[in-house]
């Protein structure tokens, strides 16, 4: 294949450029979204002072918002984003599976509810947990765990068991884990709110910032693992497919380091790397949209290719987890011992 000629190579290069362009557009959209609403404000409030000022004007209470509530709301947002990803992804994949088992509706219902309570939580600045949110998040976490069990069972019963064939094409092992993770993040946010503002926030007896950093770090690693498996199935036919198996694992490692090391600030590299990961999540959706185009009939045949092509809603789960990691950093900025 060394003799593959220049014509082919240039076509391939053009394709990758097109893919890059689509990814870049998605990236731009992601940047815009993040800048509008998702950019976590650091303890140092380094970002546009004027904008912060305007917000303070609209919401004078915000100045006094306890850091754990701020972090909790960021977590609501992260859980909501992750929940959106799992809602859309499970909807597409379970529709593809014809909802053969009634239980396949569960992640849709739970993720939709989670989305609603996360929107609620994002607006709620009260420093107390909310019963409905709490219950919904807990239900989501349990659904994710049960779903993982279902998926493991589905793979195990196919001929070949835990073979590559079944890992590639059986029920995806990692997907329900994302539902569980978003539920956990939400549940965690409610626990955060329960802390008193003048104490070092703790959740389940652990320092909240570090524990959250560890949780989102593990989530990033696991999600990268799933992307790695599925991109291996796609034979990494496009070099951009290496992005989700390089950038998020590094973010996960940086968060792990944050959780384990001595208090230190500022963590510029970690913060920027998490932002990059968050953007990559959006870019991934763009790449996947381009991947759909490369199936027979492209977007004209969307009703088949959205199901067959790469899952468009999946990559933004990296964004959700990166936002959770940023929330952890925010907490640590406020309480270095948290």
């Amino acid at each position: 294949m060394a003799a593959n000629n220049a014509g082919d190579l240039s076509t391939a290069a053009t394709r990758q450029l097109v893919g890059g362009a689509v990814g870049a557009i998605a990236l731009g959209l992601g940047v815009a979204l993040l800048r509008r609403g998702f950019t976590p404000q650091t303890g140092r409030e380094t970002l546009a002072g004027a904008r912060t000022h305007a917000r303070q004007k609209r919401s004078p209470l915000r100045v006094d918002e306890p850091p754990q509530v701020k972090a909790a709301r960021r977590l609501n947002r992260a859980a909501g984003l992750l929940g959106t990803s799992t809602l859309l992804d499970s909807a597409v994949e379970h529709y593809r599976g014809s909802f053969q088992n009634k239980a396949m509706y569960t992640p849709l219902i739970v993720s939709a509810l989670m989305l609603a309570v996360s929107a609620h939580g994002t607006r709620d600045k009260r420093p107390i947990a909310h019963g409905v949110r709490d219950a919904t998040y807990l239900a989501a976490a349990l659904t994710g765990i049960a779903g993982t069990g279902f998926h493991i069972y589905n793979i195990a019963k196919r001929p070949g068991g835990f073979s590559w064939q079944n890992l590639f094409y059986g029920s995806p092992l990692g997907a329900p884990g994302a539902v569980a993770l978003s539920g956990l993040l939400g549940y965690y946010s409610e626990r955060l709110r329960d802390n008193e503002s003048d104490k070092i926030p703790k959740v389940f007896g652990l320092p909240a910032g570090r524990a959250l950093a560890a949780l989102s770090g593990v989530g990033l690693l696991a999600t990268a693992g799933e992307a790695g498996l599925l991109h291996f199935r796609g034979a990494y036919h496009n070099p951009f497919m290496f992005a989700p198996v390089t950038v998020p694992p590094l973010a996960g490692a940086l968060l792990g380091e944050t959780a384990l090391s001595r208090p230190r600030r500022p963590r510029r590299l970690t913060r920027w790397w998490l932002r990059l990961t968050a953007l990559l999540g959006f870019a991934g959706a763009g790449f996947h949209a381009y991947g759909v185009q490369r199936n027979m009939g492209g977007w004209r045949n969307w009703s088949q290719n959205v199901l067959n092509g790469p899952p468009i809603p999946a990559p933004p789960s990296f964004t959700g987890l990166a936002l959770a990691g940023l929330a952890a950093l925010g907490l640590l900025e406020e309480h270095p011992d948290a």
């Binding site: 082919d8 076509t11 001929p159 590559w164 034979a235 991947g291 027979m296």
Partner: protein, 548 residues
């Protein structure tokens, strides 16, 4: 409209069809008939197409000829089994012997790209010992090739075709990872898998030449199921969409609807070019070398019908072996009805394979081996099997067809022994070009029959242990044709040497399945392409040394 390509040649006036675009064209270099090109290659399939590409990329001037049409699959391949017979070689032939061959579908091809346009894409390597089957296993003949060298060329072809195969292949020496991942198994493949597990033998996803992820302008396979009628999406990595476009880009000229009729020789005993029929008249292309790559029937037919006073028995035939040792692999099946819906028409027909009986030498009362694969005949093929081989008709046939979606089956690609009595010769009758028709004589030997019996017995058991009912076996079918111009180390017992160069005429070559001394129990296309790649490398090396 869908058969336009059959009526007038498309590869002319400096351009050729681009099979990867609707209505597409690509520029093509053209040679004059008086230009003495480096290589005239007759046939553009797995052998000729691959060689044309590799030689053109090595800088040689190449003209390829094919009797078939130059299709654009995206717009000209119908979801219609009967219509797609336009891809088969259905010219008249005479078949006799104890087991006369049924020619014209799975064992033929008439198109740019040859039979790879409608092959089942199964891309298996030879078991290394087969290349020395006489010395190591006690039957057949030794090849003049070393398996380690072939292993490298297999890798080259697998990369060139982006073969989608399993992460770990259970048989044979280690091989590099297949470039693309295996396809998802359909229910028919799972029947094979469960059967193998119940019988205690390994199975695997079949390495296939259809992409499981995008590749250039090939979208991933959509599991349409018409693979052996021609892939209309270009997921199939046939010679038509891989080697041929590469060849054209590298400066080769390919002439479609060009039927070669005779190879000319000069007084010095060298070939000088090819007579071919195109656009209503006979023409002659001068060439320094001629490569015959017309598959196991047309190759010997062309060599034999090119006989002249200097070579009265045909070209390259001092051994008397041209046309002899024809090997048609056995292709018998066991079929059964499953309780669950199978819908075997979904996806490539042979998604799962077991090569257990290729690699196991004990428990067999015959020489050679066989692989068997899951099956997915389309309705027309299935009804002709039920009517022709099972003898059903009328109401019984109707009722059997109603079970189509529950049907599962296993089919072998079985090794047969080379026998000189199995041969291609020339009949007295002439075809529409005035060329003598091929007479194909074929008989199975006792060893071949013992292999088939073993396979049918094993496959029937393996269907029965997974709950299939109404099991029956189809015992009269053959597939790939090989032999008829075997390669070897000795000019007395072979037609060409390891480099596919004829012993008798140094500038006459044969490069297709004809050169196989034995066939093994795997589909031959990957091996044919690997041999073509090797031949191209050897030609380049010889040219560099001045020994071409």
């Amino acid at each position: 409209m869908l058969d336009e390509a059959l009526h007038s040649p498309r590869g002319k006036d400096g351009r050729a069809p681009d099979p990867l675009r609707v209505g597409g064209w690509m520029p093509m270099r053209q040679y004059g008939e008086n230009d003495e090109v480096d290589f005239a290659i007759v046939g553009t399939g797995a052998g000729g197409g691959t060689l044309a590409c590799k030689l053109a990329e090595a800088g040689f001037s190449v003209v390829g000829f094919d009797a078939g049409a130059w299709w654009r699959p995206l717009e000209e391949f119908a979801s219609d089994e009967t219509h797609q017979e336009k891809l088969f070689w259905t010219d008249e032939r005479i078949c006799d012997g104890d087991n006369p061959l049924k020619l014209g579908s799975n064992n033929s091809g008439k198109a740019i790209g040859g039979s790879t346009v409608h092959f089942a894409m199964v891309s298996l390597r030879f078991r290394p010992e087969w290349l020395k089957s006489r010395s190591l296993l006690g039957y057949g003949a030794d090849w003049p090739l070393d398996w380690r060298e072939m292993w490298r060329y297999y890798t080259e072809v697998e990369q060139a075709l982006k073969i989608a195969g399993p992460v770990n292949y259970p048989w044979g020496p280690p091989r590099p990872r297949y470039p693309y991942r295996a396809h998802e198994l359909n229910a028919a493949a799972l029947v094979l898998a469960k059967g193998c597990e119940a019988m205690g033998i390994p199975w695997s996803e079949t390495p296939l030449a259809t992409v499981s992820a995008p590749r250039g302008r090939s979208p991933p396979c959509v599991y349409r199921g018409f693979c052996v009628s021609g892939c209309s999406t270009n997921a199939k990595q046939s010679a038509l969409i891989t080697w041929i476009p590469r060849a054209v880009k590298a400066g080769a000229e390919i002439r479609d609807l060009a039927m070669a009729g005779r190879i000319e020789t000069n007084d010095a005993g060298y070939v000088t070019g090819v007579h071919y029929y195109r656009e209503g008249q006979w023409r002659f292309q001068r060439a320094r070398n001629v490569v015959v790559a017309g598959y196991a029937i047309e190759t010997p037919r062309l060599l034999l019908s090119s006989a002249n006073s200097q070579f009265p028995d045909g070209l390259a035939n001092s051994s008397g072996l041209v046309g002899k040792n024809l090997m048609a692999q056995t292709n018998q099946a066991a079929w059964g009805v499953m309780e669950d819906e199978i819908r075997w028409y979904k996806g490539p027909p042979s998604l799962a394979v077991t090569e257990h009986w290729n690699y196991t030498d004990t428990g067999k009362d015959f020489f050679g081996g066989y692989a068997y694969m899951s099956q997915g005949p389309l309705p027309r093929a299935w009804v002709s099997s039920l009517a022709g081989n099972r003898g059903l008709w009328g109401d019984a046939l109707l009722r059997a067809m109603e079970k189509y979606n529950h049907q599962a089956g296993l089919k072998i690609v079985g090794e047969v022994l080379p026998q000189e009595r199995n041969r291609v010769a020339l009949a007295d009758e002439k075809d529409r070009y005035g060329l003598p028709i091929a007479r194909v004589t074929y008989s199975l030997c006792d060893n071949d029959k013992a292999l088939v019996k073993h396979a049918l017995n094993f496959m029937s058991q393996s269907l029965s242990v997974v709950g299939a009912r109404d099991i029956w076996t189809e015992s009269d079918d053959t597939c790939h044709l090989n032999g008829t111009a075997r390669m070897g180390d000795d000019p007395r017992t072979s037609v060409v040497n390891a480099d596919c160069r004829s012993w008798d005429i140094p500038n006459l070559w044969v490069c297709d399945g004809s050169v196989f001394p034995t066939v093994g129990g795997v589909n031959p296309s990957l091996t044919i392409q690997a041999i073509a790649c090797r031949t191209a490398d050897r030609i380049r090396a010889m040219a560099a040394q001045g020994s071409l």
